[in-house]
Amino acid sequence: MNEMALQVTDLRKSYGDLKAVDGVTFSVATGEVFGILGPNGAGKTTTVECIEGLRRPDSGEIVVLGRAFGADDPEFRRRLGIQLQSTGLYPKLTVREIMRLFTAFYDDTLETDALLDLVGLRERQNAPTAKLSGGQAQRLSLALALLNKPELVFLDEPTTGLDPQARRAIWDLVHDLRREGRTVVLTTHYMEEAEELCDRVAVMDHGHIIELGTPRELIAKYFRETAIEVDQVDGLTAEGLAALPAVGQVTEENGRFVVFSAAVPKTMSGLFDWAQAHSLELGQMVVRQATLEDVFLKITGRRIR
């Protein structure tokens, strides 16, 4: 499993003065689910589409499944599954007709009905693609990326704009791919998605990869602490919280303080003592692990959305 499915070295692509991708290097092992996480405009799509041969990089080396990849190589493309972030299909063809069309491009494919069931589009199989909802179109697009049983799958923001249920369905599909030992490269700007799905994550911002590792590694590196969320109430201040035992950092989020603590019991008892001393009525409290979202905020000083 040490074999590399994808190696990208010092990839660069500019649009005029804008360095959309500015020296990106990473590799993806066979069987790995690799995430590229970053806000809009970070350069995720540009990176992935350079790899897919849709855009011509200014410089850099790209090795896909052990070979340098030329853009127009139909035979080689049979081994890849690609879902584009922005794409369209023949609007007047039905879901089933589109699946049949793409099935004809390959020799070895999944059975259409099975695939329709897999992505939950059986009921919409006779609907013209123009009439699909966003989630349905996304799932059709995913089905087209999977129908040739690809070794390497690219998913560019597969769940953006979907409701939680539709997102869950796509997550399940990615879990299946992983179980089958396929290699997946996916981009997302959802922290929880990267945490849930990816073996390793590259955090990308302004065309650079600013961190790369497993979600756990990243969190451990930046937050050896646990997050304690405390409702804001009168008299409770960020400075006061920061002075509590074992507290590293305090941030504010949606009317709550987030207190990062290296030792939860110490911090908690300090907080209770302090509240009693000041006759404060504390609101709700939640103790949770730090997330990639916290990591991103910490590295860039900005929230991802």
Partner: protein
């Protein structure tokens, strides 16, 4: 091949389900041809056959035939003009006669000697009255003449000579010209605009990452549109014959090849426009300019003589001029603007120039 067939069918379905495309590329040209053919086609149905007769033989057989033609019973159905051959052919060309029959020198003598004689009959192949009534009448008349001459085997054979009338049946002009326009519309509205739309909706992009060669994708798209062009041609020919009552010319076998060349050339022109258009707004603008210029300056909407002299030179640079001209010639034997070879050479030359240019400027997104 599997991929080509699937893509071809996808293009076909997409097109057939697009009502606007169907109306613009198939129904509208037919409706135009019908409309113009009918409104300008009135008055061609003058009662009686106007027959010209040139007598160059004084023998008894000829005298007998002339006598029959001049008899009062015949006068009811034919208006006979007797003059010399040259003058009569001139009248035919001016649209005053339906047919001209020549009784050649030596007719009596040679038939009497058992020799077969060709009797020249001039007619206008683009006029239904001329071909139907004029030529038809002379044919059956000469059959009877064979009986009169009591010649067996039949010694008098008809030597049909077509003469283009200056003033032809309007439908003979409009039907092939509208077929030419239909090819133009297939190119600009049936090819350029949908392609740019597919590019904007990122359909082409999705195909670009599928395991397909550019050649397969283009072949399937061009192939389907050329099929539409051929179906259109067959519909047009059927419509012209069955509804407009046109008689196909002697070069009717060239209709499909010429239409094929036209379809391929104009579909390629559509690709060229799509390649040059960054957005669908741009495509619409270019398509409208091209369409307007070609429609009115190519001598397809009205006969080239009606073009103001100042605009006449523009006619020569419109590719549609040559396609419409070629189609008129091969469909109904309409009087040519250019020799057929010139028309074909211009269209083929344009195609040869457009293909590399289109490939050069083509973009998937």
């Amino acid at each position: 091949m599997k991929a080509f067939t699937a893509l071809y069918l996808a293009n076909a379905r997409e097109f057939v389900r697009d009502r606007l495309a169907m109306v613009i590329t198939i129904i509208m040209p037919l409706a135009f041809a019908g409309f113009f053919g009918m409104i300008f086609g009135q008055g061609d149905q003058a009662a009686g056959i106007r027959l010209g007769l040139a007598v160059q033989d004084n023998g008894p057989l000829s005298q007998q035939l002339v006598a029959i033609l001049e008899s009062p019973s015949m006068a009811e159905s034919i208006g006979l003009t007797v003059a010399d051959e040259e003058k009569l052919v001139e009248s035919l060309r001016a649209g005053d006669l339906h047919a001209v029959l020549v009784l050649p020198a030596g007719l009596t003598e040679r038939t009497a000697a058992g020799e077969a004689v060709n009797v020249p009959v001039y007619y206008d192949p683009s006029s239904q009255s001329s071909t139907g009534m004029g030529l038809g009448f002379v044919r059956s008349f000469l059959n009877q003449a064979n009986l009169v001459a009591q010649s067996a085997p039949e010694l008098i054979t008809v030597d049909e000579r077509s003469v283009m009338a200056e003033k032809q049946n309007p439908a003979a002009f409009y039907a092939p010209s509208m077929l030419g326009l239909a090819m133009l519309w297939l190119g600009v509205f049936g090819t350029a605009m949908p392609l740019v739309e597919m590019r904007e909706k990122k359909v082409l992009r999705r195909l670009a990452v599928a395991p397909l060669s550019t050649r397969t994708v283009l072949a399937a798209q061009v192939g389907w549109r050329v099929t539409v062009g051929m179906v259109q041609t067959i519909l047009f020919v059927a419509f012209s014959v069955l509804v407009l009552g046109l008689i196909l010319g002697r070069q009717a076998h060239l209709i499909l090849p010429i239409a094929l060349l036209g379809a391929v050339t104009f579909v390629t022109l559509g690709y060229f426009i799509a390649a040059l258009s960054p957005t669908s707004e741009a495509a619409i603008a270019i398509a409208q300019v091209v369409n307007f210029a070609m429609t009115f300056l190519s001598g397809s909407m009205f006969e080239p003589e009606f073009l103001p002299a100042a605009l006449r030179p523009a006619m020569y640079i419109m590719p549609l001029t040559y396609l419409s001209d070629a189609l008129r010639q091969v469909m109904v034997g309409f009087r040519p603007l250019f020799p057929l070879e010139v028309d074909v050479a211009v269209l083929a030359g344009l195609l040869l120039v457009l293909v590399p240019l289109t490939i050069k400027f083509w973009r998937w997104e």
